[in-house]
């Protein structure tokens, strides 16, 4: 554990950083919250005073070092202060997803042996009270919003402001306790426990020390040049590592302002009013913003619509190059400048992206169309890879080398390696977690003695040192010739085409990769109408030669992309067929959250898979179909199989 900057070293926990900020810049704004339609500002001094009162109030309630304090609610300054207050007295905050149902929350509260809970409002209080019986450790519930709680007279219920009031009174008899308690904090102490949502099995409590978060935040603040002038909008769940990192750890380091939206429904308009400089969103948000923009433009007047499409064309041609300061012809430069005045500027303003210096997308793959759309408008959108166990950061893209298909080189002080046999990504970083709370076995499996941490993701490192995440490690197989076969990676690439709804790739222990494809009935149907192709049903449309040609074009485009990567050149899709029916959750082929059940699909359509790996160009299939009312029927169809062109390996284009 080394922190070079001796000056910074004095402030090696978050409460200490809070004291520093309040001392150095007492009047600068620390938090803003929109209330009653107005942005209310809290300065660093306000924050310090509030945290102090709250921390002493917690002491008065009998809480202290090592106790766990849960926080349930949406992004509110008062709840962020609860983190600082808990850490100040040596307790460990445990944020919890506020939309979790009572049983999920109960597991976490009981597992973490939580002694007190901060709950935002009546809804959360009711939820906690309904499970109090199974969580005997909970002795206090502190609520922020008194509405609806007036008639509750339980002794263990306390109003946030009353706790602070008690804290202020306690301060009179214990004037230096707050500072003394903060001074006891050490960098190796536990800072926070974040429960991972746990797609498989029970949630696990990831223990992060001050060193983990503190050092990762310091390095990333330095890397991105974040300063006290930056602004973020905190609207993602507080229990998620990203929010904790951006709105708490980094904010305390860089001293920038954290803004809390008025309510979950007003996020978009708050975003527009605020114009943050530093922004994070999962790909789905960027995608839906783009779709909404496109729909609205189609409703706009002819002049506006033409202007929009013309300049978006200009931006597509040269926007990204201009952002990356690459040579662009004078004419394009002038056109882009004009477009900036007429289209890009107003559009970004409308979306609230006018002032963005740095923005991230992470959590899922993002389509290159979407990614490049925002970049071509001159917005510095980058990808980032990480997980709760790594304090959010493992890889991060440099401002001058951003791509849509990699997540960038390892972040500062991080190392990444690929396990040769499984293809799994491992990393070493200052942010690498301490362990899972009360789960030695899982800790040992994930974090090795040598310090390397398993991610569970399969990836490859490109020839110039960038990490590319391709799939969950357990789904990854190999072709007969040893080429890595990551079904989801190829499927995602194909699914970015609007015509393709669902894809299932085959290739594990085979010579080549083949695919089942579901067309998107809306998109392809629309396309067919414009082409003057008539059809009667999904099956009929999917079996049209024209549609096969359309899909073939998509597949070959993906093949070309795959050819760029020397590791994946043999994993190009050689043959495909369009399924005669849509994969459906009612038939058990998809999960309720629309994920493909590979094993069931492979069993049910074994005959189609065999045909894909034979020379046949036509195959008959009879399959069972479940109607919505539960009756079943037979569906017979002759399916065509189409060959696709594959491409030789290309040199990596940088």
């Amino acid at each position: 554990m080394t922190i070079n900057d001796t000056e910074l070293k004095r402030y090696d926990t978050f409460p200490k950083l809070l004291l520093r900020n309040a001392h150095q810049r007492p009047q600068a704004s620390a938090f803003r919250e929109k209330e009653y339609g107005i942005w209310q500002t809290y300065s660093w001094q306000d924050v310090q005073e509030n945290v102090k009162a709250l921390a002493l109030g917690l002491t008065k309630l009998g809480l202290g070092r090592g106790d766990k304090i849960a926080i349930v609610g949406s992004n509110r300054p008062k709840l962020y202060w609860a983190f600082a207050a808990a850490q100040a007295i040596g307790a460990v905050p445990v944020p919890i997803y506020q939309d979790g149902v009572a049983e999920e929350i109960q597991y976490v509260l009981a597992h973490a042996e939580v002694k007190a809970v901060f709950a935002e409002d009546q809804e959360q209080v009711d939820k906690i009270m309904s499970i109090m019986a199974e969580c005997p450790d909970i002795k206090n519930i502190i609520y922020k919003e008194p509405r609806g709680l007036r008639l509750y007279d339980q002794d263990y219920l306390h109003f946030y402001d009353d706790v602070q009031e008690a804290g202020r009174a306690y301060e009179k008899s214990h004037p230096d306790l707050f500072e003394a308690e903060i001074a006891k904090g050490k960098i190796e102490d536990l800072s926070v426990i974040l429960y991972t949502s746990g797609t498989t099995g029970r949630p696990k409590g990831v223990m992060l020390s001050f060193f983990n978060l503190w050092e990762s935040a310091r390095l990333s603040v330095e890397f991105e040049g974040l300063t006290e002038k930056d602004e973020v909008l905190s609207y993602l769940p507080m229990a998620w590592v990203g929010d904790h990192f951006f709105a708490y750890a980094q904010a305390l380091h860089a001293g920038y302002t954290v803004n809390c939206p008025e309510s979950a429904e007003t996020v978009l308009s708050d975003l527009r009013e605020l114009g943050p400089t530093y922004y994070f969103a999962p790909p789905a948000i960027f995608e839906s913003l783009l779709t909404q923009t496109m729909i609205r433009i189609e409703d706009a007047g002819t002049l506006k619509r033409k202007m929009f499409h013309y300049f978006i064309g200009v931006a597509k041609r040269c926007g990204v190059k201009i952002l990356e300061k690459k040579p662009v012809s004078l004419k394009d430069r002038l056109l882009y400048a004009l477009g900036n005045i007429l289209v890009f500027g107003p559009l970004k303003n409308r979306l609230g992206f006018s002032r963005i210096r740095i923005s991230y997308t992470a959590g899922a793959p993002i389509g290159s169309e979407v990614f490049n759309f925002y970049r071509s408008l001159g917005m510095n959108l980058k990808q980032l890879y990480g997980q709760t166990e790594s304090c959010a950061y493992v890889c991060i893209q440099n401002n001058n080398d951003v791509r849509s298909d990699t997540v960038g080189p390892p972040a500062p002080a991080c190392e990444v390696m690929i396990d040769d046999t499984t293809g799994e990504v491992l990393y070493k970083s200052p942010g690498a977690f301490v362990g899972y709370y009360k789960n030695e076995e899982a800790t040992r499996e994930t974090k090795l003695e040598s310090g390397w941490v398993h991610t569970g993701d399969a990836g490859i490192i490109t020839d110039d040192g960038q990490l590319k995440i391709i799939d969950r490690a357990k789904d990854v197989g190999k072709l007969v010739d040893g080429t890595l076969f990551a079904p989801q990676y190829i499927e995602n690439k194909l699914k970015f085409f609007p015509s393709i709804k669902e894809v299932v790739c085959h290739g594990g222990e085979r010579e080549s990769v083949t695919a089942f494809i579901n067309i998107d009935l809306d998109a392809v149907g629309n396309w067919a109408e414009r082409q003057g192709i008539s059809y009667t049903s999904y099956t009929d449309l999917g079996n049209r030669d024209e549609v096969y040609e359309l899909i073939k074009g998509c597949v070959e485009e993906v093949n070309q992309e795959l050819a760029i990567d020397s590791d994946l050149v043999n994993a190009q899709v050689t043959r495909f067929l369009i399924l005669h029916k849509e994969l459906d959750a009612d038939d058990g082929e998809l999960t309720r959250t629309r994920k493909v059940r590979r094993r069931i699909v492979a069993e049910r359509y074994a005959i189609l898979i065999d045909a894909l790996y034979s020379d046949k160009d036509m195959i008959s299939i009879e399959s069972q179909m479940t109607f919505e009312d539960g009756r079943t029927g037979q569906l017979k169809a002759d399916l065509k199989i189409k060959e696709c062109e594959t491409f030789p390996a290309l040199k990596a284009a940088s």
Partner: protein, 263 residues
């Protein structure tokens, strides 16, 4: 701040033997009942039973030919609706009656109308008192917006809002006048289950947090039985039952009125 004012107190409104007829049609025939301070009072009954007419009598829109209405200890024979409003009776309507082209905020602001004291001239110049006054009212309106959780539609013209939200805005406008007695005419008509649940919570919160006495007309029996303290049942203009939800539910007259005789 607010405090728990939910204590059922004295008689706030006393209706004694009122009758109302339009020509030969008897809308209300000799009905007496009272509303206690701080309670949630429901009026139910089949279509045409005279429920809305009753509300219209209470807030002075109709004038009953017989009987008296005593509100806050003052008995009156005739009163104009705006006088009723000035005395603290607020209401919402069966068919939403908002200004469709105006935003949510402006609609609720109109509810403050009676509380605005500055004259036209100073409002036009908008300096000094008029400005201060508007800021105060705006602050109050923002409280209501926050209370009803309609921040996201603050600036949306109400004509573009779904029905359930319009009803909520209308409640907001009624609340803006800080009524002592709030008359709600079918606040949940045409809503889906979730919207109804939300509305119930808001009505109960209004009752508890502001201490507002509430008199509501509602068709959804589940809602009525859940949230009201006492229920008045009308049929063909006459009172057939009055009492707690449980008592009313068990009353043979009520069962007959709703299900037809012979059950």
């Amino acid at each position: 701040m607010l405090e728990d004012t939910r204590k059922i107190g004295d008689i706030l409104l006393d209706v004694k033997g009122i009758s109302l007829s339009f020509g030969a049609v008897k809308a209300i025939a000799d009905v007496s009942f009272d509303i206690l301070e701080g309670e949630v009072r429901a009026i139910i009954g089949p279509n045409g039973a005279g429920k809305t007419s009753m509300l219209n009598c209470i807030n002075g829109f109709y004038h009953p030919q017989q009987g008296t209405i005593t509100y806050k200890g003052t008995t009156r024979s005739q009163m104009k609706p705006y006088e009723a409003a000035a005395q603290g009776i607020g209401r919402t309507f069966q068919n939403v009656a908002l200004f469709k082209g105006m935003s949510t905020l402006d609609n609720i602001m109109t509810g403050r109308n009676l509380k605005m004291k500055s004259g036209i001239l100073s409002a036009l110049i908008w300096r000094g008192r008029a400005e201060r006054e508007e800021l105060e009212h705006r602050r109050f309106v923002e409280d209501i917006i926050n209370f009803l959780e309609i921040e996201a539609i603050r600036k949306t013209p109400v004509g573009r809002l779904p029905y359930g939200l319009q009803k909520r805005v209308e409640l907001g406008r009624a609340l803006a006048a800080e009524p002592d007695l709030l008359l709600l005419d079918e606040p949940m008509a045409g809503m889906n289950l979730e919207e109804k649940e939300d509305m119930c919570r808001f009505i109960l919160d209004v009752n508890q947090e502001f201490g507002t006495t509430i008199c509501l007309i509602e068709h959804d029996m589940g809602v009525v039985m859940d949230i009201s303290d006492r229920v008045l049942v009308l049929d063909y203009g006459g009172k057939i039952a009055d009492g707690t939800p449980d008592a009313v539910r068990a009353d043979q007259n009520v069962i007959d009125a709703y299900l037809g005789g012979g059950h």
